[in-house]
């Protein structure tokens, strides 16, 4: 597979490991590296990368799985909307099994008769809306900057086509404010960040400048073994030299200025709003809601919601795991009552969740 196989070359991996070992020997203290992206968490587990690294290098996972950081309340609102009679609720598959109040989920709602459709692209909603004019199509708008422009593209396409039965329940979030929150957390002492490859395809390098400004290393990294190891090596080089910057390992995946076309589209449809992140609490201006110009496509303005009281799942450690201050093994539910077949918390649901990855690979 072009642009994939080359980055799984065992000779390159072995060479990079030697370089990492040499660099690690030049650093007198243990090094903590956080991967922010759920796809990195998954790849690091799947390729066994933790076990390849010297003991002094610790990789921890951050809040980079959109499903995992969705608040309990937003999950409950999704469940309410999916249960309405005249609604076809469209969602990416990752969201289907996330438990809400009382262990309910979109999957269980569907089994009980709700019309929940799994889409792999938001543009499937256009066909759904045209084919079902008497129904309200509600798309669960979930994801970071990589995904949100695709939802914005569908919203603008629906406006062009004068589709009036489509709206977005936006729980979209943006990554930089979460990094800022992590940098300010006194319990976290992160030496460097593996920055998310495909979020960076969209937002470019400038958005991460607060990382080197805070004296930490930053490398935008791809998702294959060679990418991740080169990313770690580049982080160590910054730590050794003391010259922190936002470096790009994943040069085939982005331009330094990002995808301005997609970002402009996103900003024309969405505006920032405060958002609640599971584990991190409310972060100002870290969520995205639809602009007033697009109010008719905004589910929360189209529907009147009852007062939904939500509470976090008792005993679930997802919150601390998402901040990187606990590992799945520290959670009393992990592997005992919380398993991929019967997930209690969201980090066990998504294949990119830290708990699911640890269950499978460690």
């Amino acid at each position: 597979m072009k642009y994939i196989d080359e980055y799984r070359d065992p000779a390159l991996v072995a060479g990079l490991l030697t370089k990492i070992e040499n660099a690690a020997r030049q650093i007198s203290h243990p090094v903590t590296i956080m991967e922010i992206c759920g796809s990195h968490t998954y790849a690091i587990g799947r390729f066994g990368i933790r076990k390849l690294l010297p003991e002094s290098i610790r990789l921890i996972s951050g809040p980079g799985c959109p499903v995992c950081v969705t608040s309990a309340h937003d999950v409950d609102v999704a469940l309410y909307l999916a249960g309405l009679d005249n609604v076809i609720f469209a969602t990416f598959g990752d969201m289907l099994r996330v438990p809400g109040a009382g262990g309910d989920s979109l999957q269980k709602k569907r089994a009980a008769g709700a019309d929940v459709r799994v889409v792999s692209s938001a543009d499937e909603c256009i066909e759904l809306a045209l084919a079902n004019p008497q129904k309200e199509i509600v798309m669960m708008g979930i994801g970071f900057e990589t995904t949100t422009p695709t939802i914005a593209a569908v919203v603008t396409a629906c406006r062009r086509k004068d589709i009036q039965n489509f709206s977005v329940f936006s729980v979209h979030k943006i990554v930089p404010p979460a990094i800022k929150t992590l940098l300010a957390d006194p319990l976290l002492n992160i030496d460097g960040f593996l920055c998310p490859g495909h979020v960076s395809t969209m937002i470019g390098t400038a958005a991460y400048q607060m990382i080197p400004d805070a004296g930490r290393a930053a490398v935008i990294t791809g998702f294959e073994p060679v990418d991740i190891l080169e990313g770690v090596w580049m982080l160590l080089q910054q730590i050794v030299s003391g010259n922190m910057e936002v470096a790009i390992q994943y040069s085939r995946g982005l331009r330094p200025e990002g995808n301005t076309r997609a970002m402009n589209l996103m900003q024309s449809v969405f505006e920032t709003a405060d958002a609640e992140w599971r584990g991190l609490g409310i972060i100002p201006a870290s969520g995205l809601s639809l602009r007033n110009d697009f109010a008719s496509f905004y589910t929360l303005k189209r529907f009147t919601l009852p007062d939904i009281k939500s509470s976090d799942i008792s005993g679930c450690g997802c919150g601390d795991i998402l901040r990187g201050i606990k590992l799945p093994n520290d959670c009393p539910l992990f592997k005992i009552v919380c398993t991929p077949m019967n997930p209690v918390g969201p980090c066990m649901v998504s294949s990119e969740g830290t708990c699911s990855t640890h269950y499978k690979y460690y």
Partner: protein
């Protein structure tokens, strides 16, 4: 969730949707938000039904070559 995969554009229709080939698997993606104009034969990274980046072939090759040289020559 931000999973993206590289594929080669096989064809583009009048609505700006492309068929891309990922090692024999074909998938339709929309080209409306890709960062640079992309044509048949180009490689793009796609996410959730949309191409988001055109891969610059020279950049990708140079990077791999440089990495190989660094390792071969044990420069660090």
């Amino acid at each position: 969730m931000c999973i993206g995969f590289p594929g080669k554009i096989i064809s583009i229709d009048k609505d700006n949707y492309a068929v891309i080939d990922i090692s024999g698997t074909r998938r339709e993606v929309c080209l409306d938000i890709v960062d640079e104009p992309a044509d048949v034969g180009d490689y793009v990274i796609s996410h959730a039904g949309y191409a988001i980046h055109k891969i610059d072939v020279a950049t990708a090759q140079d990077k791999l070559k440089l990495l190989q040289e660094l390792i071969d020559n044990e420069i660090y």
